[in-house]
Symmetry: C2
Subunit: 350 residues, 2 copies
């Protein structure tokens, strides 16, 4: 029921998935959902669609923790409960992303040892693919969260792409080790000495797609700005092409000829297809999509969630992650009892 | 002498500027510079080019503060001294950007009232232009730095574009007021109640080019990731087009036809032309360009510095900024003595 175009687009995306044989449980206002389904496809009752009636909604503007705690009958909370009870295998939400994170942590639960679940996704160009996390689940990440994200990303790429030792890069404002915010610099120091991971150092945002790393880790705030900056500039670029094409006949012809090429790239970079971020470190697959997703975005997120369950990727990942975190925790205790100092923003030293 | 391709590209860019009649003072190894100039243009001695011989260089990998303090005869330090002494009106550097910042603060000096100078530049699309700061001068910015950046950006856009009250947006991971890192949320609270500025709220990275704001403020770390992410994705996109064009005849024809259109956009978004960030809040114009700039980038930065001095933009800006900060300081003392609490990264509350 959350999201900018809910519940219409969610119902439509779910219907498309059900038509491909994926069983779907829709949580929300029963009447509205049924009406939506009736309009789209009169025969929907023969499809594997169930409805869980809920009376409340956590709005996009609502403070996430408050929403989850006080609205027990919100669609998001009920969806998380369905996953916890085993009535659903995975959750997809286009609603309040902070609330989806908190509901996942509090209701479905974290994998043992995980400090903070992180939102990750593969970003790809024609010749390279990189797994980026955290893309928005946590702001103000401490260095030890960042180090854990490196484990989470490494193991995910290992499970999903069978790369034995993925190269890990730390997103920073320069490739030099002294560059970065205080927490990024501390994370650099920790990762540099971590033998479990193949750390390749700081990576500038402009070099993320250059193939220097298979995993890019960042604070959720920074990762979110990075991801959305890319999406924004691509959108602006295609608008710009349209604008130029309208100005002169030559440009119109040029754009018309370029259409097969541009269309191919536009489709490949379409965030509606790629914007489902997987919440790593939660016991069951949870996919959070952007609030402005259309039916196509919801459909692809459901497919991705279904695949993660069917291929047992999510299950294997959680086992591997728990093991790795347990072992790294042991090592840390044995060799280097690192104290998590509280570090604040820069003081006015100049 | 700093920068990835120095001193060749710097000499070349400076020569181009001198050929357009702009007097240039080159600080660095005298023999190398003269040799470079001889190779490019035998008659360079008739051009307004002076050379200040220096024996040291602050490398790109060097820790900035240490470099500035210990290398008194570094090209960067001598250039800043030349500006301070009035032998130069502005400084352009493609070297170690942290060192350029520190040399500017310590040698040239800040405008009165400025806590942290910020790196700002106009980013533009076909139908909109937005002034972004800070793009990398300061990491770990406190909320009061961010608030000051809002003043710095507002006054710059007012002086440079004659917009009486530019709209200010705060770069965040969502448009809702509760979104953002701790410091961004605090900055939101402060800006919301600031009557001097026209604050339009949080702006997502994907909406920066949508025309909702004339000024976008951010922490330098975040701004740098945003800017370089955009540059990186555009570079990847043009590489992608080349790659697709090589795969089939249809695509090659398509790319060939699209060339006038793509070339136009590529030129407009070329970071070699646009990557000169102006260091706001320093007494004289200082332009910091990326270390990998080519001669063209240096040339455009020199032109921009020259224009800032000639049009007295920089002078007017500094007067306006000092006045605005003095008045806002007075108000703050009179009405709301805000205590700058130290806020650390999020604690593990979950």
């Amino acid at each position: 029921m959350g999201g900018d175009f809910a519940p219409q687009v969610v119902v439509e995306g779910a219907l498309q998935a059900a038509q491909r044989g994926i069983p779907v449980l829709l949580c929300g206002d029963c009447d509205v959902i049924k009406k939506g389904l009736d309009q789209l496809y009169a025969e929907w009752r023969i499809l594997p669609i169930d409805i869980e009636p809920c009376t409340q909604v956590i709005n996009m503007e609502e403070e996430p923790a408050r929403g989850v705690v006080y609205k027990k009958d919100a669609s998001l909370v009920r969806a998380a409960c369905a996953v916890k009870d085993g009535r659903a295998a995975a959750m997809v939400s286009a609603g309040n992303s902070g609330a989806a994170l908190i509901a996942s942590i509090l209701i479905i639960g974290r994998v043992k040892g995980v400090l903070r679940p992180a939102l990750g996704t593969f970003l790809s160009t024609h010749n390279h693919e990189v797994f980026c996390l955290d893309l928005g689940a946590n702001t103000d990440c401490r260095a030890d969260f960042l180090e854990q994200f490196a484990y989470m990303g490494t193991i995910y790429v290992r499970c999903a792409r069978a790369i034995a030792k993925p190269r890990v890069g730390l997103l920073s404002n320069g490739h030099e080790p002294y560059k970065g915010s205080l927490e990024v610099k501390e994370a650099y120091r920790r990762l540099e000495h971590n033998a479990d991971l193949l750390f390749v150092g700081n990576v500038e945002a402009r070099d993320v797609f250059d193939g220097k790393a298979d995993v890019i880790i960042s604070d959720g705030f920074v990762g979110n700005v990075f991801l959305k900056g890319i999406q924004g500039v691509l959108r602006s670029l295609f608008n710009w092409i349209k604008y130029e094409a309208e100005k002169s006949w030559l440009m119109r012809f040029s754009a018309w000829c370029a259409w097969p090429l541009l269309k191919k790239i536009k489709q490949a970079t379409d965030h509606q297809r790629a914007n489902g971020g997987l919440l790593l470190g939660i016991r069951s697959p949870v996919i959070i999509v952007h609030g402005n997703s259309k039916a196509d975005g919801i459909y692809h997120a459901i497919i991705a969630a279904h695949d993660a369950v069917q291929s047992k990727l999510s299950e294997r990942y959680n086992i591997e992650l728990e093991k790795a975190l347990r072992e790294s925790g042991k090592k840390e205790k044995m060799f280097a009892p690192i104290v998590h100092e509280k570090t604040g923003p820069a003081q006015d030293v100049l």
